[in-house]
């Protein structure tokens, strides 16, 4: 791009970015197929319209609306994957994966190892979740720690549309089973569009904002909040670095340690329930490696130990907030 003639950057929202990743993957490889409830255009192109247009373009043999049978959907994806297909299974909402856990945990995750490397499982499960949209207890859970704790699975989520496109494409191209988490509330959120062919490597974090006093580590929608808090803190004279993990498992330990090695302070943030969350793992890693250098104990921010409530008043009480992030940062600064 010519630096002297700034063009208005093209915008794209999450739903479009996700659609673009599948479109590119399907155009490049006929072994990429999509399975999920109501995903073909005849059924509306997916409840969040993430697959809109794809069945019209690639046919209903490759973009298959399924019965409401999560075990059968994920199982079919496993079977097709072990003979070389690259299925993308849409599990409408993350809580619905609970009825397919056997296929995910006992089969997708383990068949490579248990077969001694003879059968890999290059499937992707796309799934939406997150509180803040009034779905209540059974449609909003952030379950990434469950999957991150299963060897053999990759868990991925994006903080902006361009990364969503690049990460999902990487998941589809990856030879291991990937769980790609989408944020229900964010499908309409826009950001700069990526260049065609844009891929974000799995397992690599990115520095979303450079800073020198404290590192905030997070992923997904958390990053937007962390950046906003970082900006506010600048006025207080606190320089906040923000690390976007992008891949939750296996995560970029080197990037985390490099940043905290520099700032000597860390706050880990996620929407998932704080107890037993991903934050506990990252906090432990930092303490194991940098205990003597830390200027303060690592702080964790997450949601309350409760099912996601319905009432807006309770939902607010449940969810982590920007104030929580700011308070945790202040705590590491000794204020």
């Amino acid at each position: 791009m010519n630096a002297e003639t700034p063009v208005k950057a093209k915008k794209i929202n999450f739903a479009q970015a996700i659609n673009l990743a599948m479109d590119e993957a399907m155009a490049a490889d006929k072994r990429v197929i999509l399975l999920g409830e109501d995903i073909a255009d005849g059924q509306g192109g997916g409840v969040f319209t993430a697959t809109k247009g794809l069945s019209t373009k690639y046919g209903v043999a490759r973009v298959r609306s399924t019965p409401i049978s999560e075990q059968a959907i994920v199982g079919a994806a496993v079977g097709a994957a072990i003979v070389g297909y690259r299925p993308v299974a849409e599990i409408m909402l993350m809580n619905f994966i609970t009825v397919a856990m056997d296929q995910v945990v006992n089969h997708a995750a383990k068949l490579r190892f248990m077969s001694g490397g003879q059968t890999s499982v290059p499937l992707t499960i796309r799934t939406a979740t997150g509180a803040g949209v009034g779905f209540g207890g059974q449609h909003s859970d952030m379950l990434e720690a469950w999957f991150a704790h299963v060897p053999g699975l990759k868990v991925v989520t994006a903080s902006n549309p361009a990364d969503a496109k690049g990460l999902l494409l990487a998941c589809i191209q990856d030879d291991d089973p990937c769980i790609f988490i989408e944020n229900t509330a964010s499908y309409g959120v826009s950001g700069p569009a990526p260049e065609p062919g844009y891929v974000v490597p799995l397992g690599k974090a990115t520095v979303a904002r450079e800073g020198s006093d404290v590192t905030v580590i997070g992923y997904g929608a958390v990053i937007g909040h962390a950046l906003a808090v970082a900006k506010e803190m600048e006025a207080d004279g606190v320089s906040v670095e923000v690390i976007d993990l992008r891949t939750i498992a296996p995560y970029d330990e080197a990037a985390v340690l490099a940043s905290v090695g520099k700032t000597k302070r860390a706050v880990v943030v996620h929407e998932a329930v704080r107890k037993f969350g991903v934050g506990a793992e990252i906090s432990a890693l930092i303490h194991e490696h940098l205990f003597d250098e830390l200027k303060a104990p690592v702080q964790r921010v997450g949601s309350a130990y409760a099912p996601v409530p319905f009432s807006p008043a309770l939902e607010k009480a449940y969810l982590y907030s920007r104030d929580d992030i700011a308070a945790a940062i202040h705590k590491t600064m000794g204020r």
Partner: protein
């Protein structure tokens, strides 16, 4: 039961079934001897009594057709063609095994012979079989996927989701329920509302066939017809193959929950001597069958010795095959 008798298979097919069945029979006997003798420390689900079912089924398939089976899978795996020495070494947890010792008896994979998945989770093979069949359908490769499971597996959700999905998508898959009348220690009548398992099929619009799995002729015919339907694009078949297991759920189980008369009747109808007799009645000579038996005995002895003599995997293997990339030490 399928009553109409088609033309009998060729003599070569009959001997092929005999060979497969007796490889299972002798291997099973050797496994049990070694386990009881302390040479192998494994949980063992004996297929004794179900040999003919599996031998006739696999003889009706092509070598590159796919198979998905279960923890009680030795008969299916050997009948499908896994070299006994590779299987044996895997059972012993050795690096020379089918899966480098990382899967073990309940998780045998051997793509060269089409054995794609062996699962220890009841009913979980069915959804995966659909995926294999879906790949074949898209690829147009003409392969058929066979998935074996027990009678009790017909009570788990995955079974029902899978029959339904296979039927609506007309997948080239054969669901083979090896009905040995018990799931662990519970008889079919106590665990299953449907009187006959075959009665499940019409509810999904799927073609169902009930057959005496211990009758090689009937089993071969049912499997051949189902495979032909699948290859012709006519969709899945549910085969309920009646059989019996002689050594209970797992080795060491004293079968106290099986009425003595039921066990005695089943043993009287033991399909292994039964099939031998059937072949002798068809002008196959004792000498010919004895020669096959002797050949198999050598193969089995060699396989067992090979397994015992092989090394355990290197401990570094713990970091390999977890993901595509090696896990850091």
């Amino acid at each position: 039961m399928t009553g109409d008798t088609a033309a009998e298979p060729d003599r070569s097919v009959l001997l092929d079934i005999y060979r497969r069945a007796n490889l299972i029979y002798q291997a099973d006997e050797k496994f049990r001897t070694m386990i009881m003798g302390g040479q192998l420390q494994i949980i063992y689900y004996s297929p004794r009594g179900q040999e003919i079912l599996s031998a006739a089924l696999m003889a009706a398939l092509n070598p590159d057709d796919y198979l998905v089976t279960t923890y009680r899978g030795v008969h299916d795996q050997l009948a499908k063609g896994i070299p006994p020495r590779d299987l044996w070494a895997e059972f012993a947890g050795k690096k020379t095994g089918t899966c480098k010792g990382k899967g073990g008896p309940m998780h045998i994979t051997h793509p060269e012979t089409g054995v794609m998945v062996t699962t220890g989770i009841v009913g979980s093979g069915l959804p995966i079989a659909n995926g294999l069949a879906l790949a074949s359908q898209l690829e147009g490769d003409g392969k058929v996927t066979v998935v074996c499971f027990g009678d009790a597996a017909s009570n788990i959700g995955a079974f029902h989701e899978s029959l339904n999905m296979a039927q609506i998508w007309k997948l080239p898959v054969i669901f083979v329920c090896q009905n040995n009348l018990y799931g662990e220690h519970t008889p079919q009548a106590m665990s299953t509302g449907a009187k006959e398992l075959i009665d499940r099929a019409p509810g999904y619009g799927i073609k169902g066939v009930q057959v005496n799995g211990n009758d090689a002729f009937a089993m071969y015919q049912a499997a051949s017809e189902a495979a032909a339907r699948a290859r012709a694009g006519e969709g899945p078949t549910f085969i309920e193959a009646k059989t019996f297991r002689f050594f209970g759920h797992l080795l060491g189980d004293d079968s106290h929950y099986i009425p003595k008369e039921e066990m005695a009747a089943a043993k009287l109808a033991d399909p292994i001597p039964g099939y031998r007799k059937a072949l002798l009645e068809r002008q196959v000579s004792e000498a010919e069958l004895d020669a096959i038996d002797a050949e198999i005995a050598e193969v089995v002895a060699e396989a067992a010795a090979h397994a015992l003599a092989s090394d355990y995997p290197d401990t570094d293997e713990i970091r390999i095959d977890v993901l595509g990339m090696e896990i850091a030490a």
